[in-house]
């Protein structure tokens, strides 16, 4: 992999937006799963 300079970062495109959508979906899913686990008395140590 070649090094890249900070002023040559590519511009954001639709795929970056899709990645944020994916992050939001994963976060929401994790929240749902945590709430579900909490109902069984699950606690993070």
């Amino acid at each position: 992999m070649s090094p890249r300079s900070s002023d040559t970062s590519p511009p954001a495109d639709i795929y970056v937006g899709l990645l944020f959508v994916s992050v939001g979906a994963l976060t929401t899913a994790l929240v749902f799963l945590l709430i579900e686990l909490n109902s069984y008395g699950f606690q993070l140590q």
Partner: protein, 289 residues
């Protein structure tokens, strides 16, 4: 970006969305098995407690039934003993019954005799009842007669009292008249007065009966004429015997004074007796001499 990177990004997005949808579905439509388990445990504990209580109650009932069974057994034993005693009593009563049957037969024989006697007594009672009815009827008649006689006696008593009062009044008047007669020197002898007032009528009769005194002389003469012929007490009659009864010669026998008079007969006292004759039945008496 290569084509492969783009495909991977799209796949990642699609899979992330699918994962989110699956997590949301699990969150919204899941079943909380933990709570269900706790609830089931509580139900099981409750059911266990209930079953335990039921078992305890059943055990108590079983003990009670056992006690009742024991009591029933004891009572059955007592009943058996009582039954044996009653069997003995029944045997004794059978003997007594036989004895009483014999007595009953004797009593029946005696009752038959008494029944015959009772029938005889009843027939006798019927006869006496008839006699009693007759006597009662006679008694009623006698009572009715008695009442009538008592009424008549009351009437007679009342009349007697009135007559007594009249007698007393007449006696007073007689005493008064007698006193006046004595003061006037009048004769108060009844016979002489009657003789003066009413001289004897010409009467003839026959001597019907004679009575003699102790010297065998005729004293009382019963003649066949009385007050209906005009004869009164105090009148004097001559006694004679006709010629037909004395060998063709009439005979004077004496004189009598009338002492008692009845309507068709009289009794006279001999006041003068002839020396040559005895008054006898069949001689004539007259006031005409």
């Amino acid at each position: 970006m290569s084509f492969l990177g783009k495909v991977l990004i799209v796949a990642q997005v699609v899979l992330s969305l699918l994962f989110m949808c699956a997590a949301g579905a699990v969150y919204t439509a899941h079943t909380n098995w933990h709570e269900a388990s706790v609830k089931k445990d509580a139900d099981i504990a409750k059911l266990t407690t209930d079953r335990t209580n039921e078992v305890t109650a059943l055990n108590q009932q079983l003990d009670a039934r056992a006690q009742e069974l024991t009591a029933e057994k004891n009572r059955a034993d007592a009943v058996v003993g009582r039954a044996q005693q009653l069997e003995g009593d029944v045997a004794r009563l059978n003997q007594e019954t036989n004895s009483l049957n014999q007595q009953l037969q004797r009593a029946n024989g005696l009752a038959a005799t008494k029944s015959n006697e009772a029938e005889f007594r009843q027939s006798e009672a019927e006869r006496e009842r008839v006699q009693n009815e007759t006597l009662r009827t006679s008694l009623d008649e006698q009572i009715r007669k008695t009442v009538t006689l008592e009424d008549e006696l009351g009437t007679r008593n009342q009349a007697y009292e009135e007559l007594v009062a009249q007698h007393a009044a007449v006696q007073d008047e007689l005493e008064f008249v007698s006193r006046i007669a004595r003061q006037a020197n009048l004769n108060t002898d009844r016979q002489s007065v009657e003789m003066q007032v009413e001289p004897p009528l010409p009467v003839e009769g026959l001597v019907q009966e004679v009575r003699k005194d102790q010297t065998n002389r005729t004293k009382w003469v019963h003649v066949s004429v009385g007050s209906d012929d005009g004869l009164r007490v105090g009148h004097e009659m001559d006694v004679y015997r006709t010629a037909e009864r004395n060998d063709g010669r009439a005979k004077y026998l004496g004189r009598i004074r009338i002492w008692s008079v009845e309507p068709d007969q009289a009794v006279g006292l001999v006041v003068e007796a002839a020396k040559n004759g005895i008054i006898e039945v069949g001689d004539n008496v007259t006031t005409k001499l």
